[in-house]
Each structure stands twice: as structure tokens, then as C-alpha cells.
């Protein structure tokens, strides 16, 4: 299957599927997992170099913030954080520590960085999952409608909305949604993840979180919905011209079955690839959205740590998010193998 016109859009430049060749699933998995190590080391080194290049060590900021003036205490802290040693030894030590899941200590939270990040991770994962679901459901649905009613009013409307949401900054969209649904209509909460004073059981609480989740998930998801709508439309139109669709028609299958079982199933492949490649940016985008909605996730943590120059947490977030994205990419590859039998049987 060639997809020449898919290169039409920026996002489609990534659409060459994972290079799977004739390998079996297990070997792919093994190879990708082996690549994970060097990747994480590279992330650590990159960040370490950055921090070394920064004016002022984080010890300076920490001591200033905690109002430590006693030279002896500063020296003791320097030794505690290993900052009296040369940079390359610090780097080696850090890498070794990360291998043991020790990302350092956050003086601001008074807890290990790993624990701090893990405490914030569920909120971010929830937001990401909701945003991705929103984007896939809305995007694919809109793309299918546009492709089925190509060159009609509906197609135009979908294209227009896609272009709109593709260009609007997500944080601005979030603020505008808040103005409409929270300030003007008063339907949904302005921010946060849970109401402060809430009595009731698990169901009431889940409903409360869901209410808080709607706007951030929309603000974050609509951008991706726009890209999926465009990709789905282009891909549907292309697949529907292929021989096997004609065969399906010729053997008298119903329209609905042709669309969903034959065309859509194959048209979803580029969407899956795109999804995998964009998960990293969803994580990045959630930083901004979390700031808009004071959502207590990784993004808020990172933003807070960046502002207070709490570098152990910053590197920790970078390493863990790179790890998360890499793992997600591997899963996407595996889903790809499931969806596209040609890869499996080659």
C-alpha cells in the first residue's frame, strides 16, 4: 500500500510505519528494549550537561532559599549531594543511581524524587488518557464523516474545525473553554482535580473528578483530534480506492460492513502510528494544560521545580517521561503488528 498523498501534511512525514521488516514480535521487543538503555543514558547526559552549563549550582539556590549561611553547613550539604566531586564522577554516580531507580532527593518535598514523581504521575496519566480518548474518538469520527460525505458541507465543516483546532494554542483554548463553561455557564469547575469539601462515596468522588477532567481533556485533546480527523479522512479516501474494497463491494457486502470492517480498519494504521509518535507531545502539552487548570500532575510538578530550580526533580521528570514515551512507542509497535497482518506474516 503506497500512501503518496499522505506526505501532504507536516504530521504525515512521520507516517512511515515502524521498520519491522520480517522480524518476529519477540525479536522486535527485545531489540527495542535493548535500545532503551542507551537512550535513557543519553537523556541523562544531555540534562547533566545542561545543568553544568547553568549559571549557579542548585546548592546556591537551595541554601539561599533555606537561608543557610553557615559555611560549614553548606560544605556538609555539598558533600551530601556529592557536589564536591568532579562532574564526570557525579554523572557516573547519577547514572548508577538511576539504574537502581534512585533519582535523588528533593529538598523541597523532603522526599525521594522517585516518590514525588510517582505521587504526581496518576493525575497526568489520567489526563493524558482522557485527552487521547477524546482526540481519537472525536478525530476518527469526524474524519470518517468527512470522508463519507467528501466535498459536501460536512466535509467542509470538519476541515474548517480541524484547521481551527490545529492552529489554536491549547492553553488559550483551555482558557476560552473555561470562560464559556465555567465563568459564563457555570457548568464545570474552573480548575483543580477534586472539590475540596466533598462528602460521599466512591461514585460521587469519581463523578467529581470526571467533572474536573472534562475541560482539560478537551483543551488538550482537540488539537490531536484535528490531526486525526485530517489523517483519517485522507487515509479513508485512499483505502476506499484500493482493489480489495472493490472486491468487497463485488461480493455484495453491505455498505456499513465495507466501511467499518474493510476501509476504516485499514485506514486506522496511520492514525495508530501518529498516535504513538504524538504521545510524547501529549505529555509535553499536558504541562501547559496542567498549569492552566492547576491539575496536580507531573506538569505542575515540573513547572514548580523549574521555577525553583529544583534540578533533581527536573532531571527525574525528564528521565521518567522519556522512559514513559519509549515504553509507549514500543507498545504502539506491537499494536501495529496486531493491526497489520502483513508485518506478522512477512
Amino acid at each position: 500500500m503506497s500512501r503518496p498523498q499522505l506526505s501532504k501534511y507536516k504530521e504525515m512525514e512521520h507516517l512511515r510505519g515502524p521498520e519491522l521488516g520480517s522480524q518476529t514480535v519477540k525479536r522486535i521487543l527485545l531489540r527495542r528494549l535493548l535500545q532503551l538503555g542507551p537512550l535513557l543514558v543519553a537523556v541523562i547526559v544531555l540534562n547533566f550537561l545542561l545543568i553544568q552549563a547553568a549559571p549557579g549550582t542548585f546548592l546556591d539556590i537551595m541554601t539561599a532559599e533555606q537561608q543557610v549561611t553557615d559555611q560549614e553547613t553548606v560544605e556538609r550539604l555539598r558533600a551530601t549531594y556529592g557536589m564536591d566531586q568532579p562532574a564526570y564522577i557525579q554523572l557516573m554516580k547519577y547514572i548508577w543511581a538511576v539504574v537502581q531507580l534512585d533519582l535523588g532527593y528533593s529538598y523541597r518535598h523532603n522526599a525521594p524524587v522517585f516518590d514525588v514523581i510517582m505521587a504526581h504521575l496518576p493525575a497526568t496519566l489520567l489526563l493524558m488518557l482522557a485527552a487521547i480518548s477524546v482526540s481519537v474518538v472525536i478525530g476518527v469520527l469526524a474524519g470518517v464523516i468527512a470522508a463519507l460525505k467528501v466535498n459536501t458541507f460536512w466535509d467542509g465543516a470538519v476541515s474548517f474545525l480541524a484547521v481551527f483546532f490545529y492552529s489554536a494554542p491549547s492553553f488559550w483554548l483551555g482558557i476560552m473553554l473555561t470562560v464559556l463553561f465555567s465563568v459564563k455557564l457555570g457548568w464545570l469547575p474552573v480548575g483543580g482535580m477534586q472539590s475540596v469539601l466533598l462528602e460521599g462515596g466512591g461514585f460521587v468522588r469519581a463523578l467529581d473528578i470526571l467533572k474536573h477532567l472534562v475541560l482539560p481533556a478537551l483543551a488538550l485533546g482537540l488539537f490531536y483530534a484535528a490531526t486525526y480527523a485530517r489523517v483519517t479522512r485522507a487515509s479513508m479516501l485512499e483505502v476506499s480506492r484500493l482493489e480489495f474494497v472493490r472486491t468487497a463491494r463485488a461480493k455484495g457486502l453491505g455498505q456499513r460492513r465495507i466501511i467499518f470492517a474493510h476501509i476504516l480498519r485499514n485506514a486506522l494504521l496511520p492514525v495508530v502510528t501518529l498516535l504513538g509518535l504524538q504521545l510524547g507531545t501529549v505529555l509535553g502539552g499536558s504541562v501547559v494544560i496542567e498549569a492552566v487548570y492547576s491539575w496536580p500532575g507531573i506538569g505542575s510538578l515540573l513547572f514548580d521545580s523549574v521555577m525553583s530550580r529544583n534540578f533533581p526533580v527536573v532531571i527525574g521528570v525528564m528521565v521518567l517521561s522519556a522512559f514513559l514515551v519509549a515504553i509507549i512507542n514500543i507498545s504502539v509497535d506491537l499494536i501495529y503488528v496486531k493491526l497489520d497482518p502483513r508485518i506478522r506474516f512477512n
Partner: protein, 283 residues
């Protein structure tokens, strides 16, 4: 060196595309705003000029109203166009420079060079760009130069992959073999012979990279990591958040400016792409 990009047939094809035309007009307006901002609104756009939260259309002197501090929004929008376009263009140039160099070198020399570059591309694809950007700017300090370079630094990998793909197909062509035969040096073959042929799709992606860079800049300054001495659309959106209950227009207006600019860049990029690949036009 032939430049098919500027041929009149190309311009005709581009201008026949309505979307690209609209985009071009908007871009010209935004560039005009950036260019003439110091003439129309001389002085510091960040100074306080009137009462706070004057609604748009209420006072003819402040057509777009004033923000929570009583600063003229129209002045900040026009001066903000300078920051957005300037950072966008120079960040995209940085990204193009890095991406084209690495992509070209990787494809031309192949072997371990290619391996190293592709691992680098993968690395940058794995780190969420915005998180990396935040980290770089917060560590090195939010100056215009740092922000521009940092945005370029997180946006080059797509360009590297595209350039590499183009070079891979071009390097096997006969004219490259001919260049080798007459003893031309590697640098000359890359820069003078292959690059001009690989450039059209790269230019399209570069123009789209400007749009991405503008979005990154607005997100950075929205989070308060922009250059504090420069009027910026993103920062105005962020500052407007404090008054969304009484004056939501303070956030809305600069957001529309960002959206229009990004939209027009995308339209022009698509138009360029169609005009450069006439075969795809009818789809």
C-alpha cells in the same frame, strides 16, 4: 543553480490555491504590524496608558481595550507580532540549519555517521519537546537568544529525517556519480549539487516549523518563561487569565492573533507543498 521555486508557473499554482492566498494576506498583515509597530505605537508598549480593563470599542484611542494594568492591548499585539514572528523565523532557521546539516551528512556518508544521527533524532523524538524546552530555558535563563536557540534545538528532528530521506534517494542518481567521477569534493557535491534538489520539501517543512515555533514561544511566555522585557502574545494571554471573570477579551485577543498567524503559516505551507508537487494537487 536552477531555482524552480521562483518560476512564474509556481507562483500561479500557489496563488490559485485560495487557502494559501488567504494565508499569505494574513501573513503580510502580521509582518506589516511587526514592521510598523514602532511607528504606530512609539515607545514602550508595556507602559500604563489608561484605566484598567477598558473594553474594546469603548474608547477610540484603545481600539482593542486595555488590560488589567491599563496597558494598551493594540500596542502590545502589534509589538508582540515582532517577538512572535522574529522568534518563529529565527528558531525555524536554527532548526533548518541543524536538521539539514545532520540529515545531509547522515545520508551522504551513511554507515556509523548515519547511525549516530538517527539515534540522536530518536532521542529528541523520545523527550517531550515542550518539557525539554522548559528545562533548557529555565536553566539557561529566559533571554530572546536563549529562547530562539532552544526552540530551534527541539524542532530539528523532523527536518533531519526529511533531508536524510531526500538525500538518500538523490545520492544514488547519475549526476552525483558524474560529480564523483570528475573529482568534485564531498562538500561541494552536498552543498552545490544535491542540496538544491532536496530543498523544495525541506522549505515546506521549514515554513511549518515556523508555525510550531510560534506556538512554542507563546506557550513559554504564557508560562512566564518568556523574556520579561518583550511584549509577547503568550504572556498577554497568561496575564489575562487573572481577569477572565470581568474581562475575558484580554486573553481572547492575543490568542486569536496567535491562531491566525499559525493558521496562515499552515495554509501557506500546504499551498507551497501542493504547488511544489502538482501531481497531488487534485486530491
Amino acid at each position: 543553480m536552477q531555482k524552480p521555486i521562483y518560476s512564474s508557473a509556481f507562483m500561479r499554482r500557489l496563488l490559485r490555491n485560495h487557502g494559501a492566498c488567504c494565508g499569505l494576506i494574513v501573513l503580510i498583515c502580521v509582518s506589516g504590524a511587526a514592521l510598523f509597530a514602532p511607528l504606530v505605537y512609539p515607545g514602550d508598549p508595556l507602559r500604563i496608558v489608561a484605566m484598567a480593563e477598558v473594553w474594546p470599542g469603548y474608547d477610540a484611542r484603545y481600539p482593542l481595550g486595555t488590560d488589567a494594568l491599563g496597558r494598551d492591548i493594540a500596542a502590545m499585539i502589534m509589538h508582540g507580532a515582532r517577538a512572535s514572528l522574529g522568534i518563529g523565523v529565527f528558531a525555524a532557521l536554527t532548526a533548518t540549519l541543524i536538521g539539514v546539516t545532520t540529515g545531509a551528512v547522515a545520508a551522504y556518508f551513511g554507515g556509523w555517521v548515519d547511525e549516530v544521527v538517527m539515534r540522536g533524532v530518536e532521542l529528541f523524538q523520545t523527550i517531550p519537546a515542550l518539557i525539554f524546552l522548559l528545562t533548557i530555558v529555565s536553566i539557561l535563563g529566559p533571554t530572546l537568544l536563549n529562547i530562539t536557540l532552544a526552540i530551534g534545538f527541539v524542532s530539528w528532528n523532523g527536518l533531519a529525517r526529511l533531508t536524510r530521506a531526500e538525500f538518500l534517494s538523490l545520492r544514488e542518481r547519475d549526476f552525483v556519480a558524474a560529480c564523483h567521477t570528475i573529482g568534485m569534493g564531498n562538500l561541494r557535491i552536498i552543498v552545490n549539487e544535491i542540496l538544491p534538489n532536496a530543498l523544495p520539501p525541506v522549505i515546506v517543512l521549514s515554513s511549518l516549523t515556523i508555525a510550531g515555533a510560534i506556538l512554542y514561544e507563546s506557550a513559554l511566555s504564557f508560562l512566564g518563561l518568556g523574556d520579561p522585557n518583550v511584549a509577547s502574545w503568550g504572556r498577554l494571554i497568561g496575564e489575562g487569565r487573572a481577569v477572565i471573570r470581568t474581562s475575558w477579551f484580554v486573553s481572547a485577543i492575543p490568542g486569536i492573533a496567535v491562531m491566525m498567524t499559525v493558521l496562515s503559516l499552515n495554509l501557506v505551507g500546504d499551498g507551497l507543498n501542493d504547488a511544489l508537487n502538482p501531481k497531488l494537487r487534485d486530491r
